[in-house]
Structures are given as C-alpha cells and as structure tokens.
Subunit: 125 residues, 2 copies
DNA sequence: CTGTATCCCGCTAGATACTG
DNA sequence: CAGTATCTAGCGGGATACAG
C-alpha cells in the first residue's frame, strides 16, 4: 500500500480510521515518543529512564511504560535481586516504530529555528 | 547531524532538548497530525477539513489551525466573498513535516493487527 | 461559511505518602 | 530500586449561542 491509500475518514473505511486514530493517539500522548527514543540504543533501567526523560514523573513513567508494554512495543524484564532491577527495551515491533519516530525527532531538531522565527513573526502581527 | 547526535536530556544541551520537546508536543497534540495529513494533497476549506477529520469540533479545528499557522506550517487564505471562503494549505516548511508524519501514519496502518493482538494477549494475562 | 465567546465537565497528570 | 495509592488542581475540549 502507498500513502495515497490512506485517506482519513472515508465512509467505507470507518474501522480502519478508528484504529489508525487510536494508534496515533498512543504515539501522540505526552511521553511515549520520548520513551521510545530513549530506548533506541538498548535496555534502560527504570530510574535511568526517569533521569533521561526530563520532566516525567514516576507515575507517568510507569503508566506510559505499561501502555507500551501492553501494545507489545516495549519488553519488561525483572531481575529479582535485592534491590530489584527492571530493564525496559524495545521489542522487535517497537524497533519498527523507531524509524518513523526518529524521523519526527530529526525534523523537530532541524526545524527549531524556522518555527521560532515563524512564531516571533506571527506574534508581532 | 545524525540520529545519534540527538540524546535527550544531555546536561549540556538543555535548551535544545526543551525546543525539541516543545515541537514534538505541538505535533503530538490531539489534532495537528490529522490536519497535516489531511492537507497533504493541497488546499482544503474549513468545513471540508471538519468533515474529513472525524470527531473534531469547530472550536478545536480553529484553535489547532491557528497554532499551525503561527508555527509557519499552514497558510491561511481568505477569499472575501459572501459567504466568505477560507483555504488552508501546507507551507513549504509544513510539507517537510509531511514525510515524517506520513511515516508514522503508514506505520500505524501497517501495525494495527500486531498491536490489537498484543493487547488481547496482555489483557488475557 | 467561517469564525468568536462562554460555560463547564472530565480526565490528565503532578504532588505526596507508602510498600516489597 | 521500582513501584502503588490517593488526592486534587488545571486545563483540554465539547456544547451551545452568537457574529461578520
């Protein structure tokens, strides 16, 4: 299939649209993207994730990780040591998300100035 | 620059990180992605957008479009006819967002079943 | 047709305290 | 260390009415 096959709410494709919507919402929530990007190089422990993702609370990190785990994008590995240790890493499916996600991140990074300037211009008028 | 240059909260790159965060938040809000995807083939009028984007309210369409306009991603053209007509289209910068965004959409479309299955499996346990 | 203005509900997510 | 539980404020966003 090609991009032009995706046309948002086509009456006949209602179900497809809802699913795509739902999945994009997952990716579009506040933290999923950052977690996925932070896991790009391999397993990371819980508190290491917390440190690397600026501003995330413990609660939101847990909740978001559970969601990603439920969707089969992230794998959780518990080492029953004392103190316990938990590694999170992308699954195979999760890694397929990496390319599009990093595409966005790269775009955001490259477009910073463009957007800043546009905002200044807009706010001036 | 390469992907490996982007490492989220590097102490020395605090400002960069905040900007990337801010821009991803923009893209990650509830509606921006759909508007951008819907504008991929050219100008679309206000109410046509509303019809094509399932579930968006008039209020949120206006607000989201203003945001995209402010960031220089969408161009607004008013035809002062009666009744008035307003076309929205992607700017050149906006079109550069299209590739990464459609990458995500394509991924979401292709991964529907994978994710559905993962959820069923997770919820069963 | 293309908005703006207001009201208001519900959920998101931060803060805090506690546990194995 | 890696969570869970609870409480709550803020705000995103829907509904509705109105305007140019």
């Amino acid at each position: 299939m090609t991009l032009s096959d995706i046309d948002f709410p086509t009456p006949s494709k209602g179900d497809d649209c809802r699913m795509v919507r739902e999945i994009l919402d997952l990716v579009g929530d506040k933290w999923s993207l950052y977690i996925i990007a932070t896991l790009k190089d391999g397993p990371v422990r819980f508190n290491e994730l917390r440190r690397r993702i600026d501003g995330i609370s413990q609660r939101m990190l847990t909740i978001t990780l559970r969601g990603l785990e439920r969707d089969g994008l992230v794998k959780r590995t518990l080492f029953p040591t004392i103190p316990p240790r938990v590694d999170y890493e992308l699954t195979e499916v999760g890694r397929t998300l990496l390319a599009p996600v990093m595409g966005l991140v790269t775009w955001a990074y490259a477009s910073q100035e463009n957007i800043q300037d546009a905002r200044v211009r807009y706010d001036a008028s």
